[in-house]
Amino acid sequence: MKILKMDEVTKVYEGKVTHRAINQLNFEVAKGEFVAVMGPSGSGKTTLLNLISTIDSATSGMITIDGISPEEMTKTELALFRRRQLGFVFQDFNLLQMLTVEENLVLPLTLDGLPIKEMKRRIGDLANKLDLDQILEKRPNEISGGQAQRTAIGRALIHQPTIILADEPTGNLDSKASRDVLELLVKVNQEQKTTILMVTHDPIAASYCDRVVFIKDGEFFNEIYSDDRRQTFFQRILNVLSLLGGNVNDLSTIRLP
């Protein structure tokens, strides 16, 4: 079953220079799939994510998420849709500094006005799963990057969204923390069958996924599926990247786990 469907989606930025960020992109994500989107700088990854996030709208084409088309919704409906159906993980965590870890986790639920009991129950579950028990009372500036990103993932998970959108979730983390976060995402994906769409630069991060979609200049370029061994999948990702022909700079230096 397809949870996300993009049909001939085009996004044009009007301005002094008209810029076609996404060009007739077709793209599908199945339920329970863990998909990475890769591409060189300026290939339209962030635009793609913004379109799916419903904070930007496509110039033409159709986007459907879980059978719902965001285009037909009002601003308020969209906000409620994001709040209930989408989970976000950002490169720089974007935790609210004035809230504790626990409060950051519970934020999407309080916005929706869930009963306190239910909120506490979900926090208990999640904190355990994400290993956040010890730091629930801490502030975001008192915890490490890895812990912060785990908190952010918790925040994205707590309302059990249809799909999690992750924008370079390992971009600000060291290799150890990156690995932790990625393994966590894999675990979440496998155990809870949560659909995850991750935009990344990092071939290592991409190698944890079920499928990697490559885009270039806003157009579909290639896609590859994982195999049994992550090492070989990683190698195949590198091969496609070199085919992509982006500047060498676009590829981060290889860090083996």
Binding site: S53, I55, K75, T76, A79, L80, F81, R82, R83, R84, L86, F88, F90, N94, L96, Q97, M98, L99, E103, V106, L107, P108, T110, L111, D112, G113, I116, M119, K120, R139, N141
Partner: protein, 644 residues
């Protein structure tokens, strides 16, 4: 591009960022200049209360200067904080610390110079308008615009020195920062929950104590309290903002059912951050607003006193004299001569007041004759009375007594002469100030008056009654130079506490009025000056803090919007976030002033029979309206910014 050009372009091309700082500085200059214009005004110097005025204005200008210094210093630090990223970048690109200091100095001086120039320009443009208001307030005949170098020199000198001080010192703020910290913009060290419960409770207790003491104050202790309470209240306020607020919010945050409720989670936590970060600023704003409220409130109450002065003192000149007084005829002819010399028309009503003991209360009563009251009433244009034999009437000793005694009926006998009197009702207008004759004053019919022949118990005939000379002058405000020599004698006697030995008493309400009005106008004048600046500064502090935090708030709302915050929720959060920032300092200041006014009322009712409540409420409502308008204005701008 030279270094100076760089500084210049920095300012000119960043004018949007600089606008807020520039506006605030310019406004300060403008106000200061208008005040200096008034201070050096030749009309004021020549005519109006020279000695008072000059010293009063100097005090006001000094307060203004210190306050502006403080205000600009604060604004500058907030402003540099907002630009820390830029400075970090410059340092990273290889700029020396010395050069950075020079850059900031040049920029500050540039803004300073421009704001001084435009401030003076606008100040001069608005001076005429300002003078018109002041002219109305002080009831001067004219207050023309003038050109004279002194106000210009004073303003320029004051503000150039001020900007130099600021430009030199504000650099301190970035001196010890590491480049990386500047670039990240991490200025404050985060000191979460750094409140002490003891101080939090102490703050609340101190405030409650101050309020209770102020509310329950009485004549005996009011002086002592007026010295003790302000420091207690100030310290209490400080603890309240730095500790108690945190304490209360912490309590609230523990109550999850209240706290984890929709957008309240964000609003409350955001408010607690803002209140904690700016606790000291809110303390200053509160104190400043309180001072401003109080000074304007007090002054309004003073002017309400001058408004009621004429009603309380319907007679223009009063001379009362014991029968043994040897100076009587000399004084009366002196007063008459002086009145005639100045060409003031008057009517003189002399009468004799007799004293008897009332069988009803066993107290001494002062007795007037019906026909005397009627001739006085004719002179003053007040209603006449007619009394049957055996009837009497109270003469009011205060505004209040007119109401309380209106329906009293007393059957009494004037004991010494054995004259029965039925006292019914009260004369409907004030005739004499209570100081003059005392509170136990009645009027009886002419026939009964004649029957009173026996002297008061223990007194001779010569000392149990006294002569009273009431002068009515239509142009009562012109009598201020009449009978100065007699007035001096009375004043000296009161001063030497030998007042009871004096065989006569003289009162000149016209003179009193001119002194009171002059003093009050001056107080009003300086008070309004300072209050205006303080209120302006209080508002600007809040504005500046919001402005410098705008980037961070905007980022935060972007994240929240992405996570699914609706527009309505955003506005609700903004409301709940801005409201305490505007109205908490204001509310505390209101409370402070309200309770201070309670004490003030006690002091006031000792001086004169005037209620200041009405005026106070009016003043407080006025300030509230200004604050509400200010709130909506800022809220509108803020929402526009964070939504953009």
């Amino acid at each position: 591009m030279t270094f100076r050009q760089f500084a210049y372009r920095n300012v000119v091309r960043n004018r949007r960022i600089y606008a807020a700082f520039f506006m605030a500085s310019m406004f300060s200059v403008m106000v200061f200049f208008m005040y200096s214009m008034l201070m050096f005004h030749p009309k004021i110097e020549d005519e109006f209360l020279r000695e008072f005025a000059v010293s009063g204005m100097i005090v006001a200008e000094i307060i203004l200067y210190i306050f502006t210094l403080f205000f600009l210093f604060y604004s500058m630090s907030a402003f540099l904080q907002a630009r820390s990223k830029e400075f970090g970048l410059l340092l990273q690109l290889g700029m020396e610390k010395k050069q950075l200091n020079k850059l900031i100095f040049l920029e500050t001086m540039l803004i300073g110079a421009v704001s001084i120039a435009t401030g003076i320009l606008f100040g001069y443009a608005f001076s005429k308008f300002f003078f018109m208001i002041i002219r109305e307030l002080l009831q001067l005949e004219s207050l023309p615009l003038y050109i004279y170098w002194k106000p210009f020199a004073l303003t320029m000198g004051a503000f150039i020195s001020l900007f130099v001080i600021i430009a030199m010192t504000s650099v301190v703020f970035i001196r010890d920062q590491k480049i990386i910290e500047l670039i990240r913009g991490n200025w404050q060290t985060d000191e979460w929950q750094s409140f002490s419960t003891v101080k939090a409770v102490l703050g609340i207790i101190m405030l409650l104590f101050a309020y209770t003491a102020a509310a329950l104050t009485s004549t005996n202790v009011v002086k002592a309290l007026s010295i003790i309470l302000p420091p207690i209240a100030a310290l209490g306020t400080y603890f309240f903002f730095t500790h108690s607020v945190m304490f209360i919010l912490q309590r609230l945050r523990k109550r999850k059912s209240l706290y984890w409720h929709r957008y309240r989670l964000i609003a409350v936590s955001e408010v607690s951050v803002k209140l904690r970060e700016n606790a000291r600023m809110y303390f200053i704003v509160t104190i400043v607003s309180t001072v401003a409220f109080l000074s304007v409130g007090t002054l309004t109450s003073l002017s309400s006193y001058t408004g009621q002065f004429r009603e309380l003192n319907p007679l223009s000149l009063i001379y009362s004299s014991e029968l043994t007084n040897p100076y009587e005829s000399e004084h009366i002819s002196l007063i008459r001569n002086e009145l005639e010399e100045q060409g003031i028309s008057y009517s003189l009503v002399p009468f004799v007041i007799k004293q008897q003991t009332s069988s009803y209360s066993n107290f001494k009563v002062n007795i007037l004759r019906e026909s005397d009251i009627n001739s006085l009433a004719i002179a003053l244009g007040l209603p006449l009375i007619s009394l049957e034999s055996g009837d009497g009437m109270f003469i009011p000793y205060s505004e209040e007594s007119i109401k309380t005694l209106a329906n009293r009926e007393i059957q009494t006998v004037l004991e010494e002469s054995n004259v029965p009197v039925q006292i019914k009702g009260i004369y409907p207008q004030m005739l004499f100030p209570s100081m003059i004759i005392g509170s136990n004053l009645i009027v009886v019919s002419d026939a009964d008056y004649e029957l009173i022949s026996e002297p008061l118990v223990g007194r001779t005939e010569m000392t149990s009654s006294f002569n009273f000379f009431a002068f009515h002058v239509a142009a009562w405000e012109r009598t201020k130079s009449i009978g100065l020599t007699i007035d001096t004698q009375v004043t000296n006697a009161i001063y030497n506490q030998s007042y009871s030995d004096l065989p006569f008493y003289f009162e000149n309400p016209g003179l009193n009025y001119s002194i009171i009005r002059a003093t009050f106008s001056l107080l009003l004048f300086t008070g309004l000056m300072v209050a205006a600046v303080l209120l302006l500064a209080a508002g600007s502090f809040v504005y500046f803090k919001l402005y410098t935090g705008l980037e961070r708030d905007k980022r935060q709302f972007d994240v929240l919007k992405r996570m699914g915050l609706t527009d309505r929720e955003l506005i609700k959060i903004v409301n709940r976030q801005l409201f305490p920032q505007f109205f908490l300092p204001w509310g505390i200041a209101m409370l402070h002033s309200a309770f201070s006014f309670l004490s003030l009322q006690v002091i006031w009712s000792n001086l004169a029979e005037v209620s200041i409540l009405g005026d106070m409420i009016l003043v407080l409502i006025g300030f509230t309206l200004i604050q509400v308008v200010y709130y909506f204005l800022i809220r509108w701008r803020y929402i526009a910014h964070v939504r953009a």
